[in-house]
């Protein structure tokens, strides 16, 4: 199976600002990739270049085996970050119009549109004007417009922004379902927790460059845990008592207990055994770094060299 997206040495500047600098990326067909990074990192610019909405200054790009997304627009679904609906148009008419533009045959239009509206719980507003819908409802309509033509590649730019928790879960389930049916999905977010909950693979973008590109598990293991979370039975436990244990380099009081730093080279399992041997514990666990922690670590560490780059140089 060919890769859904291949990007190599992609550059894009807007005047002085270099929005994307030497982006390298391979998205295998069928995968669920999360683009994460803060606002202004270059996620949307990269996505727009993938969609051939804007064009790179230089670099190679192929989408679904074609040189440009224009050649395979019908096979791609896209939910842009800057999205909207025709306010005066009726919901069903809008979805049908978008589906027609995406090449859905007239005979299938109504069935598909109504099927999706029912699926997201909007069947009863099909005849209403888009402007009568709440923002969350409009968002679901936009999502339908992006997927109604059964795309092979689905690109969702900040799909969760503006949704309440219930709809967020609904959308998450839909994204998983579409991915399970074989569609390659890329979605961007600046909320790391969403990517953690959904993605197999994470691409982290910072200052127009890719700083991470790995499966989530691999990223977590690379950013090896150096800390434990301890909830002692004795709430009056003090720091000196903890640091007196061999291999413990520091301890910080948290709301529920202590965050314990362990010395380099000491396996977390050994440290747990030592603490449990000396202190009566209610709970002790390895602190798993969140994507946010990892991201902040990368952004703050100016000496950080993205590992994939060194790998590529070596290979």
């Amino acid at each position: 199976m060919t890769d859904a997206i291949r990007i190599s040495d992609l550059h894009k500047s807007f005047g002085e600002k270099r929005a994307v600098r030497g982006m390298e990326l391979i998205v295998p067909a069928g995968s669920l990739h999360g683009f994460i990074g803060p606002n202004g990192a270059g996620k949307t610019t990269t996505i727009r270049m993938i969609m051939s909405i804007i064009f790179p200054d230089r670099g190679e790009l192929s989408v679904l085996g074609k040189k440009s997304a224009i050649e395979s627009k019908d096979r791609i679904g896209y939910l842009p970050e800057e999205r909207g609906v025709y306010k005066k148009m009726k919901v069903l008419a809008f979805i049908k119009y978008m589906a027609r533009l995406k090449g859905v045959a007239d005979a299938e239009l109504h069935g598909r549109a109504m099927g999706w509206l029912e699926k997201v719980g909007l069947a009863d507003v099909a005849a209403k004007k888009c402007e009568e819908l709440s923002k969350g409802m409009q968002q679901k309509v936009q999502f339908i417009a992006a997927v109604i033509h059964k795309p092979e590649l689905l690109i969702l730019d900040e799909p969760f922004s503006g949704l309440d928790p219930v709809n967020m879960r609904l959308l998450r389930d839909l994204i998983r379902e579409i991915n399970d049916s074989g569609t390659t999905i890329i979605f961007s977010t600046h909320v790391m927790a969403q990517a953690e909950q959904l993605c197999d693979n994470i691409v982290m973008i910072h200052n127009g460059q890719k700083v991470l590109d790995d499966p989530l598990d691999k990223i977590r293991s690379r950013f090896d845990p150096k800390a434990l979370l301890l909830e002692p039975m004795d709430r009056s436990l003090d720091e000196a008592r903890l640091t007196s244990i061999a291999g413990i380099s520091g301890a910080i009081k948290t709301d529920s207990g202590w965050e314990i730093e362990i010395e380099d080279g000491l396996p977390p399992s050994e440290a747990i055994a030592r603490i449990a041997g000396q202190i009566e514990t209610a709970r002790i666990e390895v602190k798993r770094p969140s994507l946010e922690d990892i991201f902040i670590e990368i952004v703050q560490d100016e000496s950080y060299v993205p590992q994939f780059e060194t790998q590529e140089v070596a290979s």
């Binding site: 842009p80 909207g84 306010k87 978008m98």
Partner: protein, 459 residues
Amino acid sequence: MSRMLQIAWREFASTALTKGFIIGGFVVPAVILVIMITLLPILLKDEGPAIEGEVSIIDQSGVLAEDIARRLSPEALTEETQSIDIPKIEPGKTPSPQETSDMLAKAMMRSIPKLTVRELGAQADPEAAKEPLRVGTANEGGVLALAVIDAKAVVTDETSESGVPRFGAYQLYVKPKLKDSVQSTIRRAITESIREARLENAGLSPDQVNALTRVDAEQTKEITEEGERDSIEGLNMLLPGGFMILMMMAVMIGGQYLLTTTVEEKSSRVVEVLLSAVSPMQLMTGKILGQLMVGALIMLVYGSVGIVGLLMATLADVLEPMMLVWLVLFFVLAYVQIASMMAAVGSAVNEMREAQSLMTPVMAIIMIPYLLWMPVAMNPSGTFAVVCSFLPPVNSFMMIVRITSTERPETWQILVSLAISVVSSFLILRGAAKIFRVGLLMYGKPPNLKTLIKWIRMA
């Protein structure tokens, strides 16, 4: 292609198949027209209350006062009003200027002023007689006017060097804001009175003099293949003016809607959703095509009204089928130029308010034909007209004015102008497409003209 048509159809349907468009574009103008036809004569008929008041006369000639009083009596004025020959306007016949002014005179005289004339005597002091004029307003009545007639107004012993008698004059003083129609009534009475007195004094019969000096001319006739018809002054200007305004209206309305829908699509953020399905060029072309249909609809409806009007006036022969063909061709090209600019402006701004400054050059281009059509239509073969009809982006409008005016341009000139329009449409469309592509996804500070030119170079 089919996508472009989809966009075009949506653009057309969302603009023209709306209540607002149908009401604003057709119903309101029709209602206004009906109101003007039915209500205007009624409104004109009712002139308000008649003026009442006094006209003082100091008649130093001593022979006129009585005659003037007679002429200004309500009975005489009523008779004078009724004696104006009001021609019946037959359907399909445009009144001549003379008929029009007669009708206007009647309309103005409809409420006959109630004037009483008071003779102050030949020796009265004009300065003292002016005093009552200083009090109150014309509407309150009282003394409205003072006429001082020179002693030598009728009989004179003075002659000019060539021996022609030199008569005295009269001076009329009136209260401020006295109606023009009342003033002219008084003037007419005094002038006629003096004229007849002089004629009688010279032993001539006023009726005879009138008959000798009056020359009636029959309405000028135009000889056409079908026969004769009354020549209508202004018709030669009517056709070029009508064609140009029709074309301008269609171009402007289509272009304006294009601007609005583009800004709407951008501000409602629907544009990037569209761009995921179609290219910017497809989107722009589709939109231009959709609004072209709107413009064409406007032209069709109003053009048909115009043609029906000409048919009713049995003037349809002034139209040549080729004129309509040229109109359609030049309309499409002029529209593409203006619409491209509108689309470019619409794509560059975030809301209508911001479009104003960028619209100024576009509006200037649109205003030029308005300013130039008269001189071009009056002298359609002059160098000025010829140059204008080759000068993009106004050449399409100017050529239509020339084609429909009295002197047809040579066919090669029309074809050259058409070619110029085609080339300039293509260039403007291309430049606009570049701005459109960049502008659609640019949010934030609206660009100025310099930035737009940079975008054209950049894209």
